[in-house]
Structures are given as C-alpha cells and as structure tokens.
C-alpha cells in the first residue's frame, strides 16, 4: 500500500522537483557567481552580490515600492474581502451569482487585465473620456509617480479581491449558527457577534488570506510591467521587475539571482512570523 502511494505521488514529485526545486537550487548557486547568462566562464564571487544589493539604490527603491504596494493591497483586499464575504453570506439566493461575478477577475490572465486597465486609464482612455464629459480635465494616471503607484494598487485589488472573498466566504459558512444564537442569548449585538464569534472562528481563513496576499504582493511583476514598465524612470519598479531587468537586460544573472534569493528569504521570514502570530490566535472549533 505504501509502495503504491509512493508510486502514485512519484510523477508529481518528479515534475515538482524538475520545475521548482532544481531551478531554485540553480538560482542559489548563481547568486554567488558573476554569471552573465551568455558565456560559461563565470567565477565564484562569494557574498559580493549581496553586499552590492545593500547599497544598490535601485534595489532599495524597488523594495520600498514593493512593500508599500503590498501593505496597501493586503490591508484592502482582506478587509474588503471579509466585508464582501459577510454581505454575500447574507445574500441567500444571490450568493452564488455575486460570488461568480466577483471571482471572474481571478480567472482572467493578469496580462490581459493589465492591458485592459491600461486602455481604461490611458489619457485618452475610457475613464478620462467620461471625466471630460462632465467638464473635468483628463487625469494623467501614469506620468506622476504617486498616480502610477495608485493605479497599480487599484488594479491589484480589483484582480485579487474575489479570490480572498471566496476564501472568507467559505470560512464564514463553516461557523456554527448556535454560536451566534448563544451570543444573542448572552445579550450580544451585531458587533459583539462579529468580534467574539466570527473573527475567532475564521482565524484560519485570515491566516491563509494574509499569507497569500503578502506573498503575492512581494512577488508582484505583471501589473507594473505592463501598466508602467517600471516607470516613470525607475519609480514603479518592483523587486521582481528589477530582477528581470537586471538579469535579462543587463546580463547580470548572478546579481539577479542574489536579489531573488533575498526576496525568497524575506518571504519565508515574513510567512513564518505571520504563521506564528496566527497560530496563537486560532481557536479550536
């Protein structure tokens, strides 16, 4: 039986190892070299790439951008996702319909979404056309740093909200109704039910959603790549976009690998801290 289980899992394990584990190990290896991706005569440089990272203004700026965008998106998608899930939970016969509507962006290609939003937010796009009809000046969404960051945040929220809403909805539907009844009997109002019943019972859902939203935020690439290209200048470059440009634009595979490794370690560290905090808050059902 055990042998059969191992055999059954073997193809997936092999594919996972070939497509995930081995490339990761290769990246770890290249991060301590000066490999340029084109010639085979590279050399070991120790931690030189990592030391350079610390003083690289472009990487520091990209890190700031990534963290700002991640922080805002995480807060908004989780709060808004929970609110929408609560509303949908009460929608009864319309729950499935609205859940499907909100989930549609999750199913769409992020590249297609970015192009569509690019067309909407363009100076001559739909939004500015509507604004002009009301007598207002069209807005330059991409030319100013703050506007460009806001656009990226809005697109990311729009794209991901449905996913987290669905997770929260699923967790809400597992909360036993008798707990709410007990709270009512004890004289609790709506807010009491929310804070003393709903939140403690959906902590696993909150854990998953915050963890996933933080990880997705830190790995952000598609949306800034297509909406702004990292511009204006270097203003909206995220970490992964910088890795891409460094590794493939400047032929710095080694340096780009070092950046990727730093990002990986950061994501693992943040995830472990999050999980530790969430574990304490989880309530046995």
């Amino acid at each position: 039986m055990k042998k059969r289980s191992i055999l059954f899992a073997l193809p997936a394990f092999l594919i996972y190892t070939a497509l995930m584990v081995i490339p990761m190990l290769i990246v770890f290896f290249f991060s301590v070299t000066n490999y340029n991706g084109m010639t085979s005569n590279f050399r070991f440089v120790g931690i030189k790439n990592f030391i350079e990272l610390i003083t690289d203004d472009r990487f520091i700026n990209a890190s700031k951008m990534t963290f700002i965008i991640t922080l805002v998106v995480v807060i908004v998608v989780n709060i808004l996702g929970l609110i929408l899930a609560i509303l949908l939970d009460k929608a009864k016969s319309f729950t499935n319909l609205f859940r499907s509507i909100f989930f549609i962006p999750v199913l769409m290609s992020s590249v297609a979404i970015s192009f569509a939003w690019n067309a909407l937010l363009s100076y001559t796009g739909v939004i500015n056309t509507v604004i002009s009809q009301f007598g207002f000046e069209p807005h330059d969404f991409f030319g100013v740093k703050s506007n460009a960051i806001a656009c990226i945040i809005i697109v990311e929220i729009w794209r991901n909200l449905g996913f987290y809403m669905v997770i929260y909805l699923a967790h809400l539907q597992t909360v036993p109704k008798d707990l709410y009844e007990a709270c009512t009997i004890d004289g609790g109002n709506t807010w009491d039910k929310f804070t003393n019943v709903t939140i403690p019972m959906i902590v696993p859902g909150i854990t998953i959603c915050t963890l996933l939203s933080v990880m997705n935020g830190l790995k952000l690439f598609d949306t800034p790549m297509i909406l702004t290209g990292g511009g204006p200048g270097f203003d909206t470059e995220t970490i992964v976009l910088t890795v891409f440009k460094r590794a493939f634009g400047s032929n710095e595979i080694g340096y780009g690998s070092a950046m990727s490794l730093m990002l990986f370690v950061t994501i693992v560290a943040i995830s472990m801290i999050q999980l530790r905090i969430s574990k304490k808050a989880e309530v046995e059902n």
């Binding site: 030319g143 740093k145 204006p232 200048g233 400047s250």
Partner: protein, 441 residues
Amino acid sequence: MKRVISLCVALSLMGSVLAACGSQETAADTSASTGTTVAAASGSAETNAKKVNIKMEGITSPTYTAQFWDEYKKTIEKDNPDVTIEMVLAPGTDRMVWIKSKYAAGDAPDIITADSETFSNVEGAYAEVPADLLENVQDTAISRVNGKVIVMPASLQIKSQAYYNKKMFADAGITEVPKTWDEFIQACDKLKAKNFAPLIGCKEAWFEAFGYATAVLQPDVIDAKPNFLSDLKEGKEKWNNPVMSDSLKRFQELTRKGYWYKGSTSFSYTQAVDEFFKGTAAIILNGSWMAPQIDGLEQKPDFEIGIFPIPQTTGVKSIGATTGTWAVLASSKAVDQAWKVVKYCIVDNQELYKKYLQNDNLLSVTKTPVTYESTPTVALFNKNIEGLQPVMDFPGLAGDNALPAGFGDFYNTSIQSISRGTDVSKVLDDMDKEYQKLTSK
C-alpha cells in the same frame, strides 16, 4: 464513472504539461508580436546532403513586415540554391531580452541583423568578419573589438529629426523652422500660447530619451569632448560632467515649461505616432524610419508634415546616427555559408540591399554607394541632413567604445527620469555608479 472522469482529467493534464515542456519550432504563420519563424525546419544551420539551413533574424516594424521578409528570403534562396533561409522575426518590443534568451538557450539565429552590439562584448560570441567582405564597406563604418572586426557594417541610420504639423506652426505664427535651441523654445512657447501641445512623447524610455539624446545631448558631448567614450572607459571622464549636466537641464526645461502633451505618459510608441497623425501635438522627435512610414500611409493626416533637424544650443551642426551592423554567431554550424549570405545581401545583390535600406530610410555603407528613389518625406528628411556631421548614438555603438550590456536601457531610463523632474546631478551620479558596476564584471 467519477473515477473514469477523474482519470481522464488527470491524464490530459499530465499530457498538456509534458507537451508544453519541449516545444520545437515548426512551420507556422508569422506573428510580429511574439517573434516566430517564417519558414519550416528547426535547429540551427543544419546541413543535409544538398542545402544548408541558415537562421536569419529580421526585425518587425510598420515597414519591415512579415511579407517583406518572406520576399527577402525567397530572393536569397533563388540566387543561392545551396542555402535555405529560415527567417526568425524578432518581436516589436523587448527585442534585446528576446535575443538574449535565444542566445542563452543556444537557439539564436545564425545571422543577427538587429542590435548586434548586444553580444559584441561577449568574448567568442561572433565570428570574425572575412577580410574580403570588409573591403566592400567604408572604413569609417568599421568598428573593432580588441583589434578584431566581429560585426559587419550594413547601414547608416540617421536617428532623429523633428517632424512637425505645418498647420499648427502656421496658426501659431511660426514662419521659419527653429535653427537654434533658443528658437526651438520660442517656437514651443508660441505653440503653447495657442493651446497647442508643442511636443508628444510616449511612456517607453527609449523613445522619451531618444530624440533629444541623439540629436542634441550626444552631439553636445562629442563636440566638447571628441574622445568622451574612450576616456570614459579609461576612467578619465564621468557621465556627471558639466556638458552633460547642462544639456540635460535644458532637456528637463521642456517638461518644466509644460511642452509635452499631458497624455504622453500613457502612450506606447505606436500610439504616440498615431496621436501625432491625428493632430494631437505639433512636433514629434522621431527617427528616419518615420519618413517612409508617412509616405506609405493609406490614410494621410489632414495636415502637411514638415521636418527640421533638432537644433543644438548653437545651431544645427550634427545629426545623431547609428551604424547598423550584422553579425554571424561563432557557434553557427555554417559560418562560411552565413557570411556568404551576408555578402549577397549587402554587396552582391544591390537591388535587394536597396530594398532593405529603402524600407527604413537607411543609408548605404558600401564603398559603392547604393541610392534609391526617395518618396517625398524621405527626400525631405535626407535633404535636411546634407552637410551635417553624424554623431554615433551611444547605446548603439559596437566596438571597443561600446557601452556595457544593459547600460543602454539604464541610460534611456535615466534620461526619462530626468524628463520627469529627478535631480540631474543625482541621476548622472547613478549613471556613473551603474557604469562602474557593469564594466567591473
């Protein structure tokens, strides 16, 4: 039943993953946006008993279309029955990333016809150009890396002039095209006073930097420091120098004074050109390739388009240019045949060479000049550059003075960030740091 369905789904998923893992190039229709092959056969320069298969890169643009390259390759094959040409069309954007990925995967075309400076600093990437082939081109077009010639000059491209809307100029009371930078600013002021957007750009860093950098910034630097790039390489010069700083501050003035059309930052390059044709702005700083594009438009704009050289501070003295070069990969299995094809395209078949040049309004670099009948806008563009000294575009240089790989993008993005208001001195310091970093690797 459920088990059967689950098994079928699992098998088809497995099959699709395995199918995606190894894709071979097969005969397919061309697609300009992703870079695909025009003809059949996979692999690089395979030999069979009679014919040698050679992969040749072709760029894609409004003038270099898939149809153009299809006819191009047929012409080569007709006169060279011992070769089969497989055109590999580069994507319209991110061409350098595409070619680098191809190179890293061992799948780069045998003949590289665009951005060959990408690998000119990579030791052993290119085969040396045969001496007898070099005898056919002008000596001034030849560049050397460590004494060797590894890229074949193929064309001279004049980089940028100002294409302008004659009607807007007339309405703004501008009777003569500007011949100095001050006159250029005055013209922009007059246009702005009439509520016309003087200039249009786009969000792509290469284009935002390109017009001013090739026509004004680089000539300013080379006029004052003729050996700037070699001195830079030797550590005797820096990017942060007074000439560059002053020139870039003048460039920044264009944004401070609100000359750029406000929506420029939303547009791709193609959209920016379309908006110019719609009359959105008065001037677009663009390259020689736009002239044949204008003459080839099916639906002409409802205004006449004029062209003038973008003036430097003291007048119109220089014009930005790039020597287009072709190269043959050293790893090609048919280096000699590939060079034979290159010779055929540039030297032997003058008609074919003419067509290649005419498409983008390029100039020949052969000792026997190849000229073509110019369409009206092309003729006007070329007339303007008569007597002007060409100054080579920094990112496009091959040879010993070539910029390190990847610095070209950094250079363009840095100039873009200056345009958006970043402190000039800080940006130039960053350019020095980045240059040092890339050259030390």
